[in-house]
Symmetry: C2
Subunit: 230 residues, 2 copies
Amino acid sequence: MSIPIKTVVPRQIDTIKMNPEIISLVKEYFTELSEPSLQEEIAKVGVIREFKEGEIIMNFGSFVTAVPLVVKGSIKVVREEEEDNKEVLLYFLNAGETCSMSFSCCMMDKRSDIRTTAEDDSKIIAIPIKHVNDWMSKYPSWRNFVMRSYDSRMQELVKTLDSIAFKKMDERLWEYLLKRSKAHHSNIIHSTHQTIANDLNASREAISRLLKQLEKKGAISLERNKIVLL
Amino acid sequence: MSIPIKTVVPRQIDTIKMNPEIISLVKEYFTELSEPSLQEEIAKVGVIREFKEGEIIMNFGSFVTAVPLVVKGSIKVVREEEEDNKEVLLYFLNAGETCSMSFSCCMMDKRSDIRTTAEDDSKIIAIPIKHVNDWMSKYPSWRNFVMRSYDSRMQELVKTLDSIAFKKMDERLWEYLLKRSKAHHSNIIHSTHQTIANDLNASREAISRLLKQLEKKGAISLERNKIVLL
DNA sequence: TTGAAATTGTGATCTAGATCACATTCGGAT
DNA sequence: ATCCGAATGTGATCTAGATCACAATTTCAA
């Protein structure tokens, strides 16, 4: 730590202004983070960022400098295999969730990595990473929050893994449709068969056929660029 | 909890003796945990446990009461699908590593959805869960250790996931053999084809045939219950 | 030594999906 | 209205592995 210079240090630490919108967002979506002083700190250093549907949020070739608290919309996290241009959906992050994989996101091995895009128009509070660590010691609720979030990411990953390992495409497709519907808070999914096929690392034809089957069973109805869960 | 008997409580809290073996094991395998007072606490509450090869350490559905710090051998972590009795290997934990799945299990106080067995004769330091949490606030190095361990488990999980999602059985088999060889610090693997097939969620016949191919390519040599990497 | 069980080898099907090759339909720009 | 490209439908192969059905081999215990 350097010797504090009167005029500078107080500004950074004390008089930096809080963003009142952030406080209310945290109160609304992250009720677990109930310590007022923590909420204030978040409001001081957090930055609100918005993304339009389809926008790429992070390409993890580079280091991650902030952890996102999702307050609106939904963020799609996908694993990519560059060689054959393949990919699989890992999970969606919805409002109230975060991805605190602070170290790992960035430094996977190089030939394949993780991409996150806005599945919907989305809004996040970006927390610079150094605070993520500081707060771990200062605020028990933050610590719990981070641990809990690590845990649920882990759980989702394992769930995804065993869908892929154990289940057939029809079942995976159905689960996928449910997830997307949930992410959008709507039973209407705007998407082409091709996009779905990509997310599931399957062929477009296979997906089209399986969707037809679901339609015949009365589980969904199909239109161009649109699937309605019934 | 029973009513404390005078002579017992002080022993447990203050004069409990440290296990000197634990201190040296921590120093050797967990250099990151460098705070002396942390090492002492570990030596006080940690319990050394040994498992013979093949022994089940924690089964699917059981409650986790301690977090293992692996100091010898290797622990196999497997995900099970009860219905069809299928399973997949998630990863091995080697000396110097710990299982963050167990963190989440105990912190969330829920049943395990994985099974862990000793892949080799193994030794762990078992840390009762309540300390795991206490230390998070007390010891920065412990906190970092836990976070880092979550991270690396996560990475392994993602790696496993994309092997399953993107790769064919021959490649998965080869990676598997390398992992096991590494886990045993030996290029000789004692195992039946059936066991391998289980770990990869494949059929025994497929594995036998692929192993034959690898042998023909000169990558391995095969004997009963034994595979030698060349 | 002689079973008997565990392990491995091998061929014959069978199946989910991939891949290929198109035909059809829809919807928006001109 | 019409044209073009994107989205979807559909059939014909092809392939990795699963599954089934055994045979052959090894190990070990009685």
